[in-house]
């Protein structure tokens, strides 16, 4: 049940992953790749991803959850992280999952920035995915950076009203956000990140998870215009994972996990 922990990809900079074998019968040809959010959000969501992986495995899916380069338990220092590398890591994880499982129908699930990467990559190179799950996707990188800056100030109990940019750890030559290094490259990539400019259908089907705010509505509209068959999970608890209290208590959006599992399970 706890999954097989292993290293994969480039042996000099291996990625860390945990593979969950399906527990029940079923065709055995379906798999889900879980793509985490960034930084503090990754920590807050770690337990949820484990529970989601276990639930999916109980429902007959092969599942791989992993850490991008320079995050979690993967090799690399935080300041080495770039979106470009993480995009390559998702592809590598996808290939690894297919090799390990033999599955020919793979769903990509991304949370936070992971959802943004998943949608962007899938739009650039459709890989015959069974579908996408986009959970609280970051739709605008500039706004996301501002959120990180405010989150940093809040974490330190500082006045968020005067914060307009990520602080610089001068002695280290990088910006910082809630305990994590943000290199100039990563900051530039995030600044340029937008989900409303994808111009190819990323997958035939998608489940959008999260509250119905303007950004998510715009995302759904865009995906709809591209011909994606969409469903929307608006469980009240869906975004509860991303809170300060999630660091001190096991905050688990159980209903959301069930919805995701049932929806993905119904995709053929």
């Amino acid at each position: 049940m706890s999954g097989l922990a292993f290293h994969f990809c480039d042996s000099s900079n291996p990625l860390f992953g945990i593979y969950h074998r399906p527990e029940t019968g079923g065709p055995g040809n379906r798999a889900v790749l879980l793509c985490p959010p960034f930084g503090q959000e990754e920590i807050r969501s770690n337990r949820i991803f484990r529970l989601l992986a276990e639930q999916l495995a109980r429902s007959g899916f092969h599942v791989l959850r992993f850490d991008y380069f320079a995050t979690g338990d993967s090799m690399g220092d935080c300041e080495q992280a770039t979106l470009e590398q993480w995009s390559k890591d998702i592809i590598a994880a996808h290939d690894e999952l297919k090799d390990m499982s033999g599955a020919n129908r793979v769903t990509w699930l991304g949370l936070g920035l992971g959802a943004t990467l998943v949608a962007s990559i899938a739009a650039r190179r459709e890989r015959g995915l069974a579908g996408l799950v986009l959970w609280d996707a970051v739709t605008n990188g500039k706004a996301y950076l501002a959120d990180l800056a405010r989150g940093h100030a809040k974490m330190l109990g500082e006045d968020m009203a005067v914060v307009d940019a990520l602080p610089v750890a001068a002695e280290l030559g990088v910006r910082e956000a809630m305990g994590f290094e943000i290199s100039a490259t990563l900051a530039d990539e995030l600044m340029a990140l937008r989900l409303d400019d994808i111009d190819r259908r990323p997958a035939r089907k998608a489940l959008v998870v999260g509250q119905r705010d303007a950004a998510q509505v715009a995302l759904v509209d865009r995906l709809g215009d591209l011909g994606v068959k969409l469903e929307w999970c608006e469980d009240e608890e869906a975004s509860s994972w991303n809170s300060e209290s999630a660091l001190n208590a096991f905050v688990v959006p159980a209903a959301t996990i069930r919805t995701i599992t049932a929806t993905v399970g119904g995709w053929r």
């Binding site: 290293h7 945990i18 920590i43 770690n46 338990d73 974490m155 001190n248």
Partner: protein
């Protein structure tokens, strides 16, 4: 530097990552053990355990970060053990793992908040813990500390507001219980399941007398109880801890070392502490045997 995944403990329930120096024998036969803080998985708050582990390995010290039973990717114990007792068992299993994989029988434990508590509990029975770096461990307020804290808050409303906010963020696995804010008490000045002051002092004394070096580092999060290093020894005046105990107050550092500068400060302190532990003249087990003979 290389990292290897470790499964250990009963039925290989526990998951850890062992970080090892590249192609060299451990320095001073000492390794580092990094514990969960609260319910955060083994990478630690802000990936701090990963950073500390890799920093230690770059200095020649193997380091194991792992998940206690039921946390992160370690399976629950399946027994009816008290959480604290199970943590002590898990730490013993981790020390076994370190010894089997690296040959190191001397280990410096690093723990934040509940991690500090668990290490403190384990050190009482496992002499392999030759050093403890405890971040925001149990704190026992003195009158002086209270006065200084209140004075600081009175002179800086923003300071009070910030601390009140951040105290609510402490990494604790247990629900809050009220602490006496008005006077010097025998209870710990936080809402953790802390031993009474004299018991804590006695257990700490036993640990240092056995030969274990202890570094207590209090951040601004503990500032209502301790806000100057000298307050600790005065508060525990009944005990002569000698120079095996160091107490530091990082008054400008938050509970989880959010600022990168505080993380790098901590890495520097870890370097110095590991050097001090390495200079110990004998293994702790031998020191314990000597002590037993003297006491007999």
């Amino acid at each position: 530097m290389m990292e290897r995944i470790q499964r250990f403990g009963d039925n290989d329930r526990l998951l850890g990552i062992l970080t090892e120096p590249a192609g060299q024998k451990p320095v001073g036969d000492i390794a580092v053990l990094l514990l969960n803080a609260g319910i955060i998985h083994r990478i630690g708050p802000h990936r701090l355990n990963v950073k500390l582990a890799r920093h230690a390995a770059s200095s020649g010290y193997p380091a194991l970060r792992f998940d206690l039973s039921g946390l992160g990717d370690s399976a629950p114990a399946g027994l009816s053990n008290d959480f604290a007792d199970q943590a002590v068992s898990d730490i013993a299993a981790a020390l076994d793992c370190i010894e089997q994989q690296t040959g190191c029988r001397r280990v410096v434990g690093v723990g934040l908040c509940s991690g500090a508590d668990n290490l403190f509990n384990a050190a009482g029975s496992d002499p392999r813990l030759c050093g403890l770096m405890l971040l925001d461990p149990y704190a026992y307020a003195s009158f002086t500390a209270k006065v200084m804290f209140l004075a600081q808050c009175a002179s800086n409303a923003g300071h009070w507001k910030r601390l009140a906010f951040k105290m609510g963020q402490r990494l604790r696995p247990f629900p809050a219980s009220g602490a006496d804010e008005t006077a010097e008490t025998e209870a710990s000045d936080d809402d953790r399941d802390a031993p009474p002051r004299l018991e804590f002092g006695a257990r700490l004394l036993e640990i240092v007398r056995r030969g274990t070096r202890v570094s207590l580092i209090y951040t601004e999060n503990s500032s209502s109880a301790i806000n100057a290093a000298g307050q600790f020894r005065r508060r525990f005046r009944e005990f002569d801890f000698g120079d095996s105990l160091e107490v530091s107050v990082y008054s400008d550092v938050d509970h989880t070392f959010t600022r990168l500068s505080s993380q790098h400060r901590l890495m520097g302190e870890l370097d110095r502490f590991l050097d001090r532990c390495r200079s110990m003249s004998r293994e702790p087990a031998a020191a314990a045997e000597d002590r037993a003979q003297i006491d007999a």
